[in-house]
C-alpha cells in the first residue's frame, strides 16, 4: 500500500480556500485554476496593482504546493531536474516559476507559479513511487499560503515578527522559519519583479487568524487584500 498525499487527490469539487467566506464578504471575484479557485481581484480590481505595490495581502492557499524530506531528497530532487538552493533557508525560482525553498539540508518546500500550473510540482507528484528515504509532505493542506507584498510589507511584518526582514537585511530568496503573530511558519522573500514580496506558509487551521492579524497590522499603512491578478501584474 502506498501512502496517499493530499496533493494526489482529485476532489469532486473545485478546491476553495478556508477564507472563502471572508473573500465573499469583500466582494471578491474568483477565477478557476485547474482544480481550484483563487481570488482574481476584489470588487472591480481597479487600482489593485498600485495597492499591491504599496501594501497588499493575497491568499494563494489553493495553489499547488508540495514538500519532500528525507536523506535521499536532495539527490532525488536534483535528478528530477530541480535546481536546488545550495544552503538551507534559501529559496529560488525554477524556470517554470515554481518556488523551491530549502528548509534544511534534507527538506524542500515547493510552491507553484501564479498560474497554478507548476510543471515541477506536477511532474514530481505524478512520479508514483518515491525512492527510499524520500518522504512527501502534504504542504497544500498542512499549510496556508499568503503573500504580503509592497513597499510597506517589511514595516507590516515588523509588527508581527521578531526577525529583521527589512529588504536590505533579508535578501530576495532568503527563508525564515519563525513565529508570525505567534504562529509558526515559513516565510520566504520572493519579490514579484520589482515589488517586495513575502510568501508566508503557515498552519492551515490558523489561516483566518493570520489573515485577520495581518490585515489589522496593515491598516496603519493603508494595506488591503489584493487578488492574484495584481500579483501577476507586478
Amino acid at each position: 500500500m502506498s501512502s496517499t498525499t493530499p496533493n494526489q487527490i482529485a476532489t469532486n469539487a473545485l478546491r476553495r480556500s478556508q477564507l472563502y467566506r471572508r473573500h465573499m464578504a469583500m466582494s471578491a471575484a474568483f477565477e478557476a485554476l485547474t482544480d481550484s479557485t483563487v481570488v482574481s481581484c476584489y470588487g472591480t480590481g481597479e487600482g489593485e496593482l498600485k495597492q499591491a505595490q504599496h501594501l497588499g495581502l493575497a491568499d494563494l492557499s489553493t495553489l499547488p504546493r508540495a514538500g519532500f524530506k528525507g536523506l535521499g531528497t536532495p539527490d532525488w530532487a536534483a535528478g528530477q531536474g530541480l535546481q536546488l538552493p545550495v544552503q538551507p533557508n534559501r529559496a529560488n525560482l525554477q524556470d517554470d516559476g515554481t518556488l523551491v525553498a530549502r528548509l534544511s539540508q534534507t527538506e524542500l518546500l515547493l510552491a507553484s507559479n501564479l498560474d497554478g500550473l507548476s510543471e515541477s510540482i506536477a511532474n514530481i507528484s505524478l512520479g508514483s513511487q518515491l525512492p527510499e528515504r524520500v518522504y512527501s509532505l502534504p504542504r497544500s493542506d498542512s499549510h496556508s499560503w499568503l503573500v504580503l507584498c509592497g513597499s510597506q510589507a517589511a514595516a507590516t511584518l515588523s509588527k508581527v515578527c521578531g526577525v529583521d526582514l527589512r529588504p536590505h537585511k533579508f535578501a530576495n530568496g532568503e527563508v525564515a522559519q519563525t513565529s508570525i503573530a505567534k504562529i509558526n511558519g515559513v516565510l520566504v522573500r520572493n519579490d514579484l519583479g520589482e515589488t517586495l514580496s513575502y510568501s508566508i506558509f503557515s498552519d492551515s487551521s490558523s489561516i483566518e487568524f493570520l489573515w485577520d492579524s495581518l490585515l489589522d497590522a496593515m491598516a496603519e499603512f493603508e494595506g488591503t487584500a489584493v487578488g492574484i491578478q495584481a500579483l501577476r501584474d507586478c
Binding site: 533557508n89 519563525t178 509558526n184
Partner: protein, 109 residues
C-alpha cells in the same frame, strides 16, 4: 529577551525555542541500579558553571545542544545533536524475566 543561535536558523529571540532539559547520557536501563535510574530521571545536576542543554527551535522543530554558563547565563556555543550522537543506538534484547529478582545494591540503599 535573550538571543539564542540555532545551528540551522541563526540567532533568534529565545521565545522561539523550547527548552529540552539538561543533556546527560542515559545509563544502561537494563543494568543500572534503581537508585541510579531514578537519579537519571528525576535528579539534575543543576550545576553552577557550564552545562549542556537541549533546545528545540519550535518553528522548524530542530533539536540541538547548547553550552551555557548557568552563573553568567551566557550561551557559549550551540551545535547540532549529531556532534554527540554520531551513530545509531540499539538496545540489547530484554533479559528473560526472572522470578523474585534479588534487589540490586542500589535498591537496598
Amino acid at each position: 529577551m535573550k538571543l539564542l543561535t540555532c545551528p540551522l536558523n541563526g540567532p533568534r529571540n529565545i521565545s522561539e525555542f523550547t527548552y529540552g532539559g539538561e543533556y546527560h547520557p542515559m545509563p544502561d536501563h537494563q543494568q543500572v541500579a534503581a537508585r541510579e535510574w531514578a537519579e537519571h530521571v528525576f535528579f539534575h545536576d543543576n550545576a553552577a558553571g557550564v552545562v549542556i542543554e537541549w533546545w528545540c527551535h519550535s518553528a522548524s522543530s530542530y533539536w540541538f545542544l547548547a553550552e551555557r554558563n548557568t552563573i553568567s547565563d551566557q550561551i557559549l556555543r550551540t551545535f547540532p545533536a549529531d556532534e554527540i550522537f554520531t551513530q545509531r543506538i540499539d538496545f540489547e534484547p530484554a533479559p528473560e524475566p526472572t522470578i523474585n529478582a534479588t534487589p540490586t545494591a542500589g535498591e537496598s540503599q
